[in-house]
């Protein structure tokens, strides 16, 4: 008998209800990841403070607060590894933000709108820490 494969624990911060709930459900149904979700950056901080995650997916519409959070992850201020893979979801990036994300070693930037399947491919390939790459 084969033991069930343990799924990577991933934290998702996404304020939009339909997108957030659909990502959580599809990731679970397809056994890609165990996703814990937060609809606010404060909730995301609380979840990161309370447990370890093997990957993080962050919406960046409120760029300043999200980049602050990402900086704290990289400084090892939570229970997760400081070099945990981080995917950022962005409708648009303003001047300088792409460079900030690159400096914070973001694994990938997904431009909204994107297909959930594209995000799950990235999440499923946990451990991969490629150079920052912008998908348009």
């Amino acid at each position: 008998m084969t033991a069930p494969r343990s799924l990577p624990r991933v934290l998702l911060f996404e304020p939009h209800f339909v997108m957030r709930r659909t990502i959580v459900s599809v990731a679970r149904d397809l056994a890609v990841a165990e996703v814990q979700d937060a609809s606010t950056i404060d909730r995301a901080r609380a979840l990161l403070a309370g447990g370890a995650y093997e990957g993080v997916v962050l919406d960046i519409d409120d760029a300043a607060r999200t980049i602050d959070l990402l900086g704290d992850i990289r400084l090892g201020r939570f229970g997760s590894r400081a070099d945990a893979p981080v995917v950022v979801m962005a409708a648009e990036l303003r001047r300088g933000e792409e460079e900030q994300l690159e400096a914070l070693a973001v694994t990938q930037v997904l431009r909204k709108p994107f297909k959930i399947g594209d995000l799950l491919k990235i999440v499923g390939a946990r451990g991969r820490q490629a150079s920052p790459q912008v998908t348009r």
Binding site: P15, F17, V18, R21, S25, D29, P113, K115
Partner: protein, 168 residues
């Protein structure tokens, strides 16, 4: 054409639908955002939340469809509510149940249909969340899972929930 069948629990089903007080009501963002998201994620020109009334299907939310309702007997959703699973017709023009259906032969030019039955809290299947295309299609596992997830959100809205957060 095979007319949409009538489920065994039709009387109770219709009563449950009436009790929701949803038929002929104005649009509601909880449902509208789900059909927008379904169309976007599955690359479909048409996405609907359809409620199967006695003689018609009425659309609580619709994207890409002008008519607010169609006769029940020609509805694909009327077939979809016969079982709880996702109901998929990959090419209606090659399916003897639907090849001469006016939704297939007429202006809508329906070829692909996928409908996820939606249910009242009591378990009566009162309609579907469905997507439609004018070309034959197949659904992959991610697309199926997305439709299943969105069906769950519609069911939550039917039960009086699903209000959280800004529209997607």
């Amino acid at each position: 054409m095979t007319p949409a069948p009538i489920p065994d629990d039709e009387a109770d089903r219709l009563q449950a639908l009436q009790q929701l007080l949803l038929l002929d009501t104005p649009s509601d963002e909880r449902y509208d955002r789900v059909v927008r998201f379904a169309a976007e994620q599955l690359d479909m020109p048409v996405a609907l939340v359809s409620l199967i009334d006695g003689r018609r299907q009425w659309f609580k939310a619709r994207l890409g469809m002008e008519a607010p309702e169609t006769p029940r007997d020609i509805s694909f959703c009327g077939h979809a509510i016969m079982a709880p699973e996702l109901f998929v017709v990959e090419d209606a023009s090659r399916d003897p149940r639907f090849a001469d259906n006016p939704l297939v032969t007429g202006d809508l030019h329906l070829r692909f249909y996928a409908g996820a039955p939606i249910s009242t809290p009591g378990g009566h299947r009162i309609g579907t969340l469905c997507v439609i295309d004018s070309v034959p299609r197949q659904l992959g596992p991610v697309e199926r899972a997305v439709l299943e997830a969105l069906r769950g959100l519609v069911n939550e809205a039917l039960a009086g929930g699903g209000d959280e957060g800004p529209p997607a």
